[in-house]
């Protein structure tokens, strides 16, 4: 797998943004995409990041799935951002591994549906490396372990170039997910890699975010046929 994705070999600039506010990370993606729309020969980008706590809404909304008043979130210091990605409401916070590919899907010869499938595959292989078995649900996309959701995908495509991406719960505090119906689904339990490993191995386990980052980078290259150029300077 995934033989269905027969892409062209491409190079991509990989950058670890560490912990960065959602809006700033979004600006970086939008700027990179706009530059690529003007000049299609520019390289693709892959950003790895964790965000301070933030709720984000999809193009078609999601605020109706926020179960707390705005002032409650303000008191908690949690931002809310309307985006143009697919999907519904979600939460990002420290301890969640986020990967944003700014990729010219046209030039890479990757269909949008295959790209979503491949991003899920990256999360699935990563989780499996930590001993957590992952399933897909064709009706409710994202990645699941049993009936609990562990990862999400959402993309925006302009002129064939993607922004946004995937988010895998590694070690984050899951409490804020209880304030929403994640992805617009009611009664969905969220989970994380560490929580699942603690359940199965019955002891406290810490997952290194650097290890997750390296697995994301490795599987991104394998799944989509990319070579990475590592950018060491901070954004």
């Amino acid at each position: 797998m995934p033989e269905r994705i027969r892409s062209r070999l491409r190079t991509c600039v990989f950058q670890d943004l560490q912990v960065l506010e959602y809006r700033r990370a979004l600006d970086l993606q939008v700027d990179a995409r706009n530059a690529k729309i003007r000049d299609r020969s520019l390289q693709d980008h892959l950003f790895f990041v964790q965000h301070p706590p933030v709720f984000t809404f999809g193009r078609r909304g999601g605020k109706e799935n926020l179960m707390k008043p705005d002032n409650f979130l303000e008191q908690q210091g949690i931002d809310m951002v309307q985006t143009d990605r697919g999907g519904n409401i979600t939460y990002h916070g420290p301890g969640q591994a986020v990967l944003y590919p700014v990729v010219d899907l046209e030039r890479a010869r990757i269909g949008v549906a295959d790209f979503v499938y491949g991003l899920e595959e990256i999360m699935g292989r990563t989780a499996q490396d930590f001993g957590v078995a992952i399933t897909r649900d064709p009706r409710n996309r994202g990645m699941w372990t049993g009936s609990r959701k562990i990862g999400s995908v959402g993309l925006s495509i302009k002129h064939g170039i993607s922004i946004h991406g995937l988010a895998l719960n590694v070690s984050l505090d899951l409490t804020p997910f209880s304030w929403i119906n994640p992805c617009g689904l009611s009664r969905v339990a969220m989970t994380s890699l560490e929580q699942e490993m603690q359940i199965s191995q019955k002891k406290d386990i810490r997952v290194s975010m650097d290890a997750v980052k390296e697995k994301f980078a490795t599987y991104f290259c394998r799944v989509f046929n990319f070579q990475l150029i590592r950018e060491t300077t901070h954004a």
Binding site: R60, G86, G111, A113, R141, G154, I157, H159
Partner: protein, 132 residues
């Protein structure tokens, strides 16, 4: 994704680099997304339509299609005023997948510059771009 040779690309419409099709009858132009676009997007779950009366320039964003977890923008092949939108897509967005050139049309536009459509690609030129 389909092989390029398996794509359904009618001879009697024009194509854009963003994979829309446009078919002129007088100065009214019907617009949708083509077989390549619907195939690579996958199952379309929502089509965001403009309002009748809206005016756009060529290459403006006029709406979007949401396939599962991905929102893709739609671009005007030509300049003009929206004179009709396919309201069937509100309840049946899958028409774009099932019948992209007939039942899955998206908008009709009164062209403000009849020369623009002649600048779009015919099937042969579009195929050449895809293979490029």
């Amino acid at each position: 994704m389909k092989e390029i040779d398996d794509l359904n690309l009618p001879e009697d419409v024009k194509y854009t680099k963003d994979h829309e099709w446009a078919n002129a009858e007088g100065d009214t132009v019907t617009i949708g997304i083509n077989d390549y676009a619907q195939d690579q997007l996958g199952e379309i779950v929502f089509v965001e339509l403009p309002e009748v009366g809206d005016t756009f320039s060529a290459e403006d964003e006029f709406g979007s299609v949401e396939s599962v977890k991905a929102v893709s923008e739609l671009y005007m092949p030509i300049s003009g005023e929206i004179v009709a939108v396919n309201e069937n897509l509100e309840d049946a967005p899958e028409l774009v997948n099932e019948d992209c050139y007939q039942g899955g049309w998206i908008i009709k536009v009164k062209s403000s510059d009849n020369s623009e459509i002649n600048e779009l690609m015919d099937k042969a030129a579009y195929l050449e771009m895809l293979k490029g």
